[in-house]
Subunit: 283 residues, 2 copies
């Protein structure tokens, strides 16, 4: 049941980047792929903490590993990185009937769907919070020290998951996150399909609404490019900023002139994110 | 005639990665795309030296820019990076009739073809040595200080171009280069089509044969993964090593346990290559 199948492996920065598949009970029995970067410390037998990386719309487990330029600093700091896919996958998994990029396959939004036909497989929230860490911690030389980060839809995932599980993660960071999905086109489209028309149920998956009422703080860093084409309509970091202020919690929010929504932005600042998380991850 | 059209731009590590297209006289008038990374020094008006990067089979101008993790160190050192495509492109450009990956489109081998139908467009040697640097030096804030590097087929290109033009480049480096193409399947297939049956003409494009007879040395570094699937049959660094010994020229050849032929290998050591070139590039 917890069997992992190795799909590929590549040595990188003295560690190893590997892809595995496994059958996911949480996601209705579909076959899921994830990628893991094991730094050299783990290879030589020292258990290391884990950063979970959640990718954005249309991505898979591969985008971050190929494009983020994170390995050198992860190797230096001794942090493993785990990148799950962005939705359930496989022949039996329903997709948007119009094949749009922002809903269905590749767009799981890191929530537990309650509406048919999505509710059988689309439980990415439980997968990321419970099943995947259990699998990682049972099969790799890692500790149970966890941080979480992500980009765009994955930034939304990282922030909401961290805010709802401050006991399970020591810190959270995001690039260009969807900060207030109940009030943007991507969020409204996804939530209305996955969660139905009762907007009250959407609030559980909105980082700004969760942060505004958060009793427990968690170290939180967000970086946002000012030339990001999705900034005003979809991302709304100002909502997260207002929520932090309302709740009296610290939020590091950096705005960067000229940077866009791409991995060129992520690769420019991923080292700083890794060093941010390293402050809070114990060995 | 020398008009450049901007296709895309992304800010990265305080500089800019941009793609341009232009009409190439050298390549029979086809429309070529290249990518350039301009470090922050160039953006603020200081002319910087240029590293030309030649990619491998099936690649375009994009692979290196997206996957090599080179920008942070290029920005630190103040080096621009130019990545051309790997062959002429466009509707009028002939391709291998069997559509194989190792000949025709995406596989120009950085030579000047002499045989029909290839000889109209396949002049990647002249494009890389003459037309592209002229274009770059006329349109961007760069000096005429040049280094050259590449991967696999592009490593072959970098080594042969540098050995034949020691006055134009200050140093050369390669990852997993095809070191002795007259004696490996990729080389024999490409050279027999592009250059014809007279094997004497092939010698002009074989790094090991050129190095064995080189009068003028050039600083040269090669990195090779020992888990590279193409090592024994296609790459043959031992031929390059023997040639350097025969000619009495220095060659830095590093073999790395566990590393394969992928960009995960390149991203692990690209910083060292940039620092190697920086020693020889004057501002």
């Amino acid at each position: 049941m917890m069997t992992l199948e190795l799909v590929s492996k590549n040595k990188a920065s003295d560690g190893w980047q590997k892809q595995y598949t496994h059958t996911s009970a949480t996601l209705g029995g579909c076959n899921m792929r994830f990628a893991i970067y094991l730094p050299p410390q783990a290879i030589s037998g020292t258990a290391v903490p884990v950063l979970y990386w959640l990718s954005g719309l249309t991505c898979t487990d591969e985008n971050f590993m190929q494009k983020a330029a994170a390995f050198k600093t992860a190797a230096e700091l001794g942090i493993a990185i785990v990148a799950p896919d962005t939705s359930p996958r496989g022949e039996g998994v329903p997709d948007d009937e119009n094949g749009s990029y922002d809903f269905g396959l590749g767009a799981g939004f890191y929530l537990n769907a309650t509406q048919a036909p999505w509710s059988t497989h689309y439980h990415m929230y439980d997968y990321v919070v419970d099943e995947l860490p259990k699998l990682i911690e049972a099969n790799f030389p890692v500790t149970n020290q966890r941080a979480i980060a992500g980009h765009s839809m994955g930034g939304h995932g990282a922030l909401t998951i961290a805010l709802k599980n401050t006991d399970r993660y020591s810190s959270v960071s995001a690039f260009s996150p969807i900060c207030h999905p109940v009030d943007c086109p991507w969020g409204v489209k996804a939530f209305s399909h996955y969660l139905g028309d009762d907007r009250k149920t959407w609030e559980e998956y909105d980082a700004s609404l969760l942060l505004a009422q958060a009793k427990q703080a968690i170290p939180m860093r967000v970086d946002q490019g000012e030339a990001d084409q999705f900034l005003a309509e979809q991302l709304k970091p100002e909502a997260l900023e207002a929520a932090a202020k309302k709740a009296g919690h610290d939020l590091i929010l950096n705005r960067h002139e000229g940077y866009d929504h791409s991995y060129y932005f992520i690769s420019s600042f991923i080292d700083e994110h890794l060093r941010f998380h390293a402050q809070f991850l114990k060995g």
